[in-house]
Amino acid sequence: MLTFTLRRLLLAIPTLLAISLVIFLLVDLAPGSPMSEIPLTVPPDVRQRMIEAMGADQPVFVRYVLWLRQFFWVEPAQVINHWFGTDFAAGEQRILSWQSRSPVFTVIGQRLPQTLTVIGTAYLVGILIALPIGIYSAYRQYSVFDQLGTLFAMIGFSVPTFFSGTLFIIIFAVWLGWFPTKYDTMMEVTDWESFLKQLRQMALPVLTLGLANAATISRYMRSSMLENMVQDYVRTARAKGMREKTVVLKHVLRNSLIPVVTVIALGIPSIFGGAIITENLFGVNGIGAALILAIHASDLPMVQTLAFIFAVLIVVFNLIADILYGLLDPRIRYD
């Protein structure tokens, strides 16, 4: 397992380099100028100097190699400096956002916690709703509960979050007034009261996204349970006199979770990607909103860096999914 992990990690390096190059070139091909958001009153020669100051006039390969150096050396050095008070890579140029002229990672550092709290909670809530529904639907296939579960999943699949989110805002925020309509990014949790307030403002976005997540995962759980429920070893477990609870929640569930855990692990990078629509709808200033803003402003360093971070996460969680698969299923050994 260790050899496998190391081999995969080594293999990830050329993969990620290739991905970074593709991202860099593709994003560079996109039309638009970093000056597009600058007022028209700024004279052309000033614009030209601004572009030169940002290095945007350099050939794409020069920018790519410089970006690589910044991403893999300067930015990690900054993190280490921040943690240990050291002084690595002092005076080196960090990856700057063309839009805000501040380091890209500072922006990410501000935005990411919002996304993780809201979208991460929604994912977790989705899983917690989905697993019991999937398990019980499969155990009582075609029962009323199963039919309702199927209906729920169908709605969760087919209703887009911009619709369900708006609906929830109208019902729970406008009519009933239980929750605020907007998410207040500036709010800080300092005491019990502000914690409750935070929970209340998280409720609607979490509900919106959680239901969508739960719909998918509950279907996976159900079909995986159904597949295992008819296996011979289940009959063996019953023939041993095990209680139904043990048969289903131990023997069947343990086997059924193998593919579901993989699906869940592979879905985690999408949390970091943020749910752009939901974030916009509720005014959560997360990473998804940041990406959209950057694309509008042709802020190439920001877009490239964010896209590459998502690529890294996807590669890493693919590896994690594979490792989990090996841990859960003794038949799979990677050595």
Partner: protein, 329 residues
């Protein structure tokens, strides 16, 4: 059956149907048999004759729905297993009645260690501590002839061969010293040499432990080798039943006779071709009102097509369900 002492297992008029979209399939029709203490009953019949369904019905192992056990009695030491609640039935499964299934490759749970799977019924039924259950599980693995038992406890099923897995299944079935062991074609999925080993093992265990065994097979050779009595099933009912020597020497039902002829002879003149019974076993969409074998029978006459024959005694302990009078019986 008339055999003196009270039987461990007494099945009377068992009836099982499957509800399907196209109607009810009458898989088991009024099957009666009994099992004496320490006896080995062989159950033969081709695929679809209701052998497995009968045995699974005894302790409610068929998925319900679509299966439904509709009538009869299953008396284990005088207690009707069809009348008791599911939790009570679960106390009996694995404790008093052990099961070994056909396919050892899929009958063990792939994600749990073999040792844990053997310990499970011990912890469930015998009230042992984990350490005691472990000791007993190692004993069981040794009993079924698995070398280096203590080390193999932490192996997973996929690390065992088919024959070894079937030994593990036998260890699980015997874990709680059951009164009855039901072996549902336990050697069918194994190759011949392994088959012979498993047969030897069961013979030996039976002498050591003295449980009664129901051995389902379609291999008459196996029955001849190990069984005391044989029960022949066709179309969901018992067509002939008796002591092995008697049934093999004087088969009374045309189906039994035909079955015996399908076995290739090792000695004597070489037969031209291996005998086959023409036709297919019936799928019973209604309770049979005629003899289910009538369509394939060499001795069929008019009465067979209008009246399903009842079992009648030929000799003490040998009965047949057939209108035809076999010459030797």
């Amino acid at each position: 059956m008339p055999d003196g002492a009270a039987p461990v297992l007494d099945v009377r008029g068992l009836k099982t149907v499957f509800r399907t979209r196209s109607g009810e399939v009458h898989a088991v029709n009024h099957v009666s048999f009994s099992l004496q203490k320490g006896e080995l009953l062989g159950v033969v019949g081709e695929s679809g004759s209701g052998k497995s369904v009968t045995m699974m019905s005894l302790v409610g192992l068929l998925p319900q729905p679509p299966a439904e056990v509709r009538g009869g009695q299953v008396l284990l030491d005088g207690r009707d297993l069809l009348k008791i609640s599911l939790p009570e039935l679960q106390d009996i499964r694995g404790a008093r009645v052990g099961f070994v299934f056909q396919d050892p490759m899929t009958s063990l749970n792939p994600v749990f260690k073999v040792g844990d799977q053997i310990m499970e019924p011990l912890l469930r039924h015998m009230g042992l501590t984990k350490a005691q259950a472990r000791t007993r599980a190692i004993e069981l693995l040794e009993l079924v002839g698995i070398p280096d038992a203590a080390a193999r406890m932490s192996s997973y099923p996929h690390q065992f061969s088919g024959g070894m897995r079937q030994r593990v299944m036998i260890a699980i079935a015997l874990a709680c010293d059951p009164d009855v062991l039901i072996a549902d074609e336990p050697t069918t999925a194994l190759d011949v040499t392994i088959q012979a080993q498993i047969l030897e093992l069961v013979k030996e265990l039976r002498q050591k432990l003295g449980m009664a065994i129901v051995w389902i097979t379609h291999d008459l050779g196996v029955i001849a080798g190990i069984a005391d009595r044989v029960m022949v099933m066709y179309g969901g009912q018992v067509v002939e039943q008796g002591r092995v020597a008697e049934v093999f020497k004087h088969p009374a039902h045309p189906y039994t006779r035909a079955l015996l002829k399908t076995v290739p002879a090792l000695h004597g003149a070489r037969a031209d071709r291996l005998m086959a019974i023409e036709g297919q076993p019936p799928i019973l969409m209604a309770e049979p009102s005629s003899c289910p074998f009538a369509a394939r029978c060499a001795h069929v006459h008019d009465r067979c097509r209008v009246e399903n024959p009842q079992r009648r005694d030929l000799n003490p302990g040998h009965d047949v369900a057939c209108h035809w009078e076999a010459p030797h019986a």
